[in-house]
């Protein structure tokens, strides 16, 4: 029998609701996570039969849960089944977001203009003279909003709108939304058994979303690292068996780091799930906040889904990551650094670029005190050895003198995007207005007419 058979498209006449065939790999069925920029990073959407782990190591924010709220809302809105596993699942479901224009007091037009105002706030003056050779280039884009491919699939959600109770009740009635409670009396294995039972009893024509917003929170009891890994592995195997389901889990902040799980913990999570991302918010590190004022945290991609191919679809087709132009052609640029920000109405993932002021146009002769604190802060985040040595102190200003000795000996570990750490020492100055040291600098003034004014 010849092994060369003509590939006929798989006879999948009807796809489950809310999903589509991945345009980049015809054997993969993808569905939206609710956030268009996250869909782009994942390569179009989250493929069915894949599990996504969202780590949010910051204790003071709940970005992981926010991503899960989008996930649940998108599932309910597209008519897919949603299994929600939480210690108070009904309360979590009621806190989910919904599409704008559903409540009579907020008409759709006003929300659209407010949204536009949000974005105008950071736009530069349109009257800038653009050199003629650049006029044809499209505007600099840092993020992907819902594009035409995804329009019918990824609905626009508004963070200011809560999901109407009627929708939740209707979903529970029709068994579209299944709430599974977690408490300390039942262990992780019991939860998995419940999920398995529900999966085996649901039809394969309907896509199923499994959502665990706070895996590892105190209500799960005293979890051991091996139990958490076992759960991730078992969920992944369940998804292989029931390929019309997908899962999205958010780990509780305290279990996201090496201090809880042991060395290499984050990597282990990446290996045992199909896709893993880490959203490290800036709130713990004030120097990063001043450095990137328009973002709320960095996004680190640990693993991307590739259920039917070797190369993840995102590597070639993600506009945000920016590898597509380089793949396979002359030269190859590194990928873009990614960050996220939570605006009033939505959460978006963007490419991260240095600000105008803090960039290479400003020349310093000595490193600023902020840069040293910044380096020390970053070093703390990335090297577990120093965390244990200095007792886990973050880059606080009071400890600058001590940290200086360590900074020179450290080698930067691979857990932080390399491009960002490489650019940190090159950074001339974050230049906050309140820097006390007088410094020599050459600054580019745009209002002065100069040689380059055509």
């Amino acid at each position: 029998m010849s092994s060369f058979k003509r590939k006929t498209p798989s006879g999948r006449a009807t796809l489950p609701q809310g999903t589509r065939l991945s345009p980049f790999s015809t054997s993969t069925v993808i569905t939206s996570t609710g956030i268009p920029s996250l869909d782009d990073i994942l390569g179009g959407g989250l493929p069915l039969s894949c599990s996504l782990a969202v780590l949010a190591p910051d204790h003071h924010t709940a970005y992981g849960e926010l991503v899960q709220k989008y996930f649940v809302a998108q599932g309910l809105a597209s008519g897919q089944k949603v299994f929600l596993i939480h210690n108070e699942p009904l309360r979590f479901a009621k806190e989910c977001i919904w599409m704008p224009g559903s409540a009579p007091s907020t008409p759709a037009q006003s929300s659209a203009t407010e949204d536009a105002d949000d974005e105008m706030a950071s736009q530069h003056d349109d009257k800038i003279k653009i050199a003629w050779r650049y006029e044809q280039m499209k505007k600099f884009q840092t993020t992907v909003s819902s594009n035409s491919l995804n329009d019918d699939l990824c609905l626009t959600f508004d963070l200011t709108c809560k999901i109407p109770d009627a929708i939740i009740d209707a979903a529970r009635q029709s068994a579209q939304l299944v709430l599974i409670g977690v408490d300390t009396s039942e262990d992780a294995g019991g939860v998995i058994k419940q999920i398995e039972g529900l999966l085996s009893s649901s039809a394969s024509t309907q896509a199923v979303r499994i959502c665990i917003p706070a895996l590892g929170s105190p209500h799960w009891g005293d979890l051991q690292p091996s139990t958490v890994l076992g759960m991730l592995h078992t969920i992944r195997r369940l998804l292989h068996r029931y390929p019309s389901a997908c899962a999205s889990l958010s780990l509780a902040p305290h279990i996201c780091g090496d201090t809880w799980g042991g060395q290499g913990w984050v990597q282990k999570i990446g290996w045992l799930t199909d896709a893993a991302i880490s959203m490290s918010a800036f709130s713990a590190n004030p120097s990063l906040v001043s450095l990137f004022p328009s973002h709320h945290g960095l996004l680190q991609i640990l693993r991307l889904p590739a259920p039917h191919t070797i190369l993840p679809a995102s590597d070639k087709h993600s506009t945000l990551r920016g590898l597509s132009s380089a793949a396979g052609t002359m030269g190859g640029s590194g990928e873009n650094n990614l960050a996220f920000k939570c605006m009033r109405k939505r959460l978006i993932f963007e490419t991260l670029h240095l600000d105008l002021e803090g960039g290479v146009t400003e020349r310093r002769t000595t490193p600023s005190s902020n840069a040293i604190v910044l380096d020390a802060g970053i070093m703390h985040d990335t090297t577990p050895a120093t965390v244990s040595a200095t007792g886990g102190r973050k880059g606080s200003l009071a400890a600058v003198e001590v940290e200086l000795e360590h900074v020179k000996d450290l080698t930067v570990e691979a857990s932080f995007p390399h491009a960002v750490t490489d650019s940190m020492p090159d950074l001339s100055s974050p230049s906050p207005a309140k820097s006390k040291k007088p410094k020599k600098k050459v600054v580019f003034h745009s209002e002065r007419p100069d040689l380059y004014d055509f």
Binding site: W271, I310, S324
Partner: protein, 244 residues
Amino acid sequence: MQFPAPELVSPRRLLLVTDQLQAPADFLLHRFLHLHLKQTKTKCIILAVSDGLERWKSVASKANVNVAQNDSFQFIDVFDHHPPLADREGGNTNKSSLRTIYDLLSVKLSDSQVDDQTPLVILDDIASLEWLGFSLLDLSRFARALRSLCVKMNAALVVRHHIVTPPEPDALLQHLLQLCTYHIEVRPLASGRSGAVSGEICVHLGPSVKDTQEHLISRTSALQYRLTEASAVFFEKGTSTGVL
């Protein structure tokens, strides 16, 4: 550039493939499988821990290797023979399930013990077994048992191990290094991900093997690769722009 060199995967050898999360080595395992099925047409047994059968099948079909109807391809899911999370009660169940896998494998290998047959056994991922609760002692014994079984049955063995603490070898890796003939190391580029180069490959000789220069690729002259849909393209350092 061709990797692996034709004689690298040969019987009675243990090839240890290590990788990191930023540069996974599954493409290499798939490549070994496809080359083996195409060239020698003998049995190929996959002991899988994390990936499912679907992925092996779809990647093989993209590389024009028919795996679905191929009798020589056999897939054993390690956790099919292992009780689920809730029922485990400690080390004994782990040991017995490893024993079950070993017995199953020896049955399958002896089935095909016709002369000149050189089966290929791929253990995808012994590191996950350790993370999921199997003890280090059990796993190192299992690896040794697998090695001796493959030597007896004239089979080639490929074991994949994930490195999560890059500069320092963990205990299981040290055990495996002592057993292996060649250590194929897949590493990410030190400067991060790039579109043109996905990572690099080095081949080291196992510590207990007689000194030879054959097949070795040192770290300084590592072979770089770029992933494609179903396989990878290999090239020497610095020649990536010349690759079509």
